[in-house]
């Protein structure tokens, strides 16, 4: 016996969640098999589709750039319909917590480095800080939270020529914590509105920021304005300041990413998707070109999981869906073919932000997203791939990581579900 489902999705990020939701829509019994806590908690919480393509960008409309993408790019396989289906699944999963669905156009969101990221969907708390909207901006950072340097971020935005003025200030947080206190500690203090000498954390913070306001019509903070009571925190600050308040997405620990993770996993629960997490899929048993069992390393002992259809959504080099040593790049679970130059010095460019070959490493999908071997034949008839493990996209340059995950997840999940239930 083994633990048995119709569709087994391996992975825990946005591609895996989308594939599972998509497969569940077909009526299939789906299981998500995740190794660790989702990598969504390391992500900004922004959902991009396509910001740059070829020499074009930032793109006002991501769909305008699809023709510029190279042959073999995942978007060329799933097409505009696939992208739209991925966004539909996302919108249904997160509901009102995200904005951007009213238009095809990209929004420009200020990052905590002061760059502008073309983004298709963004958390509601980010909305009033869009660079693509007008209104002078005050960015507030905290001396003890060194990741976000508000004056530097403001200078970057000004230098990029935004059509409004931006100013950044660093303030002491109203309450003092240990020197290496976590971002979440600040968020909790705001959540609970803890008391401080001059009142409460929220009121003291608003007072300090009000002293700095000089005609700006919106105020941005690093994304730490509350955890469980974030809307309440933001509303109170906006109310006290008399201008809208927004959050600037941060790196890990990313509260926006954590919240997105919660929303997607709640949606999985609601869709009846079963979830097994905590252990990696490492091996499999097959009969000819059909995978019969996926083996999970459950603390050095293998547990078999059986399914009719499998979706591989384990991520790229960072997510460990791809592995590399000094000579080879491999896909470690099923041994799928990952093309790469023989000489590893050809894997990267000398410039840090160059057009690196390694960024496009991944499995090569056929037109139904089945990974193929060196001859272009699919490895297994019941294995599909989605997200970062799929090669052909330079998601960091294109600003397409979330979109590729959503689109390939939606299509791979639907096809797997249909095959399993037909």
């Amino acid at each position: 016996m083994a633990i048995t489902d119709d569709v087994l999705v391996i992975g825990g990020g946005i591609a895996a969640c989308t594939a599972a939701l998509s497969a569940a829509e077909t009526g299939a019994q789906v299981r998500l098999l995740a190794h660790k806590k989702s990598t969504l908690r390391q992500a900004s919480g922004l959902v991009d589709v396509l910001g740059y393509a070829g020499d074009d960008g930032p793109l006002a409309n991501p769909y305008d750039g699809l023709d510029e993408l190279p042959e073999g790019h995942p978007y060329r396989i799933v097409g505009e319909d696939g992208i739209r289906d991925g966004l539909r699944l996302f919108d249904e999963a997160v509901g009102d917590a995200y904005r951007g669905g009213h238009t095809d156009d990209n929004a420009l969101v200020a990052t905590y480095g002061g760059t502008m990221k073309p983004t298709a969907r963004y958390p509601e708390s980010v909305a009033s800080g869009l660079v693509s909207a007008s209104g002078d901006m005050l960015l507030v950072g905290f001396e003890s939270l060194t990741d976000f340097d508000a004056p530097v971020a403001a200078d970057h935005l000004e230098a990029a020529g935004v059509p409004f003025s931006v100013r950044g200030v660093s303030l002491p947080f109203p309450k003092t914590f240990r020197a290496d206190a976590k971002l979440t500690r600040f968020a909790k203090a705001l959540d609970r509105d803890e008391s401080v000498e001059s009142g409460t954390v929220r009121s003291s913070l608003a007072d300090a920021v009000a002293d700095e306001l000089d005609g700006e019509t919106r105020v941005g903070f690093p994304a730490m304005l509350g955890d469980d009571h974030d809307t309440e925190v933001r509303d109170e600050l906006a109310d006290r300041l008399g201008v809208p308040v927004f959050e600037v997405p941060t790196g890990p620990p990313s509260l926006l990413g954590l919240k997105l993770e919660d929303m997607l996993f709640d949606a999985l629960d609601e869709a009846g998707v079963r979830i097994s997490s905590g252990n990696p899929a490492v091996d499999f048993e097959a009969d000819g070109d059909r995978i019969e069992t996926v083996l999970v390393d459950q603390k050095s002992r293998m547990t078999p999981y059986e399914a009719d259809q499998i979706v591989l959504a384990t991520g790229g080099l960072v997510g460990k869906g791809l592995d590399s040593d000094r000579a080879h790049v491999t896909e470690p679970v099923f041994g799928c073919h990952v093309p790469h130059p023989e000489d590893r010095y050809d894997w990267s460019e000398p410039e840090a932000f160059g057009d690196h070959e390694f960024a496009r490493f991944g499995v090569v999908p056929d037109d139904e997203l089945r990974p193929t071997d060196a001859d272009g034949e699919s490895h297994f008839e019941n294995l599909r791939a989605a997200g970062g493990v799929v090669g052909g996209a330079h998601v960091a340059r294109e600003k397409s990581a979330s979109g590729v995950s959503l689109a390939t997840g939606a299509v791979a999940g639907r096809l797997a579900g249909e095959d399993a239930t037909q």
Binding site: A181, P253, A286, K299, R301, T303, K320, F334, H379
Partner: protein, 437 residues
Amino acid sequence: MSDAETPPDTTPTPGEQGEDDFEPVEVFPESTEMDLRPGADNCYKCTSCDVSCPVAEVDDEFPGPKFQGPEQWRLKRKEDASVDDSIMSCSNCMRCDDACPSGVPLSQMHNTARGEYVDEDMDKLSREYIRNRILANYGTLAELGSMFPRLTNAIMGNSLVQQINEKVLGITAEREFPAFATQTFREWWNERGGPQVRSEDKRVAYFHGCYSNYNTPEVGKAMVRVFEEFGYEVVVPKQRCSGTPMFANGMLDDAKRAAGINAENFAGLIPEGYDIIASCTSCSMSLRQEYPELFDIDGLEDISEHTYEAMEYLRIHEDLDSALADASVSEQSFAYHAPCHARNQGLDRQAVELFRDLDGVTIEDVGDSCSGISGTYGWKEEKYDKSMQIGADMFDHMEHADGNVGMTECPTCSMQMEHGTGYDIKHPLQLLEEALV
């Protein structure tokens, strides 16, 4: 790899490749001690572990798992630096292991650092050391106490004794000491004459641990009856504590002694076709992960590879879904809490998944927070309030859930659930017994 068709462009594994054309340089002198450096080097300071730490969330003085693991490891490389005493505030819930995206062996680092701190820096005559030693060796205490269970229960339930425990030993007076059963599991087992089913090919050895032996023998009995119903021969070897409370208190010598005895009594059964079954998820965690991580004793690797949590075993080896589909129980409604140690073994959702469709049962997961007791942590007088703060989310969710009976696999989570809500708490095996036996 498997018996699948080999992909044409197959590449050698990293290990083989290394031997071919890459000569690693030996930078550090060879050492016979456990080398955690590669683990420390894997940390890229994303702080995901800190965010997942239930103690750091309520204890502003606790620097969190990233410090306790990779950072502390580096700091104590210096000759004159010893392990920071904040390591004693780690509750060993092991949630950081599950949060790390980079394979840092955080709990292993914590366990070794804590062991080193207790060995080298803790005053062996201090109240804290004596108290921790007593708590860590609960099994020995329980063995004595359960010789005269009624008398012990009366004494331990006496509020004056509880006050003395708190004042003299630093064991909180807020908690009710768990009652000892009038008949231990092993006494019951011997009275019934051992195994009632014999089998050549379906054999399990039960690791009952301390709690289901001395305090909740009904859990152990349920395990035996369910497995015998499925045709398994159950044996119950002599055993010591799994070591979990000893790891959490840095008593690694005690834990190693116990592990040695358990290895002696269990490892020999594996070649005879026995798998090891635990009903407590901390016991199975210890046998599977901590034993091979911390001790070099013959048989521990074998034990690790053949240990299962009870329901997990049945899910893999029997058609539990079908068995439950044909079963029904009287109407009952549960608020289920997944123990932290069940999470790391990937078992946190199986009870809800299995019982959701069982006729007569409604079951609801009360969320992913830690219960806060973490074995001995919540028994310490100075940790009690923090323990209750950590548990607040769980209590709240339990009260909002439809169920008015709690369910969990972990004995100390169950104490905390009962303490915070007044609910009766059941083990999933007890419901399985009701449904199938």
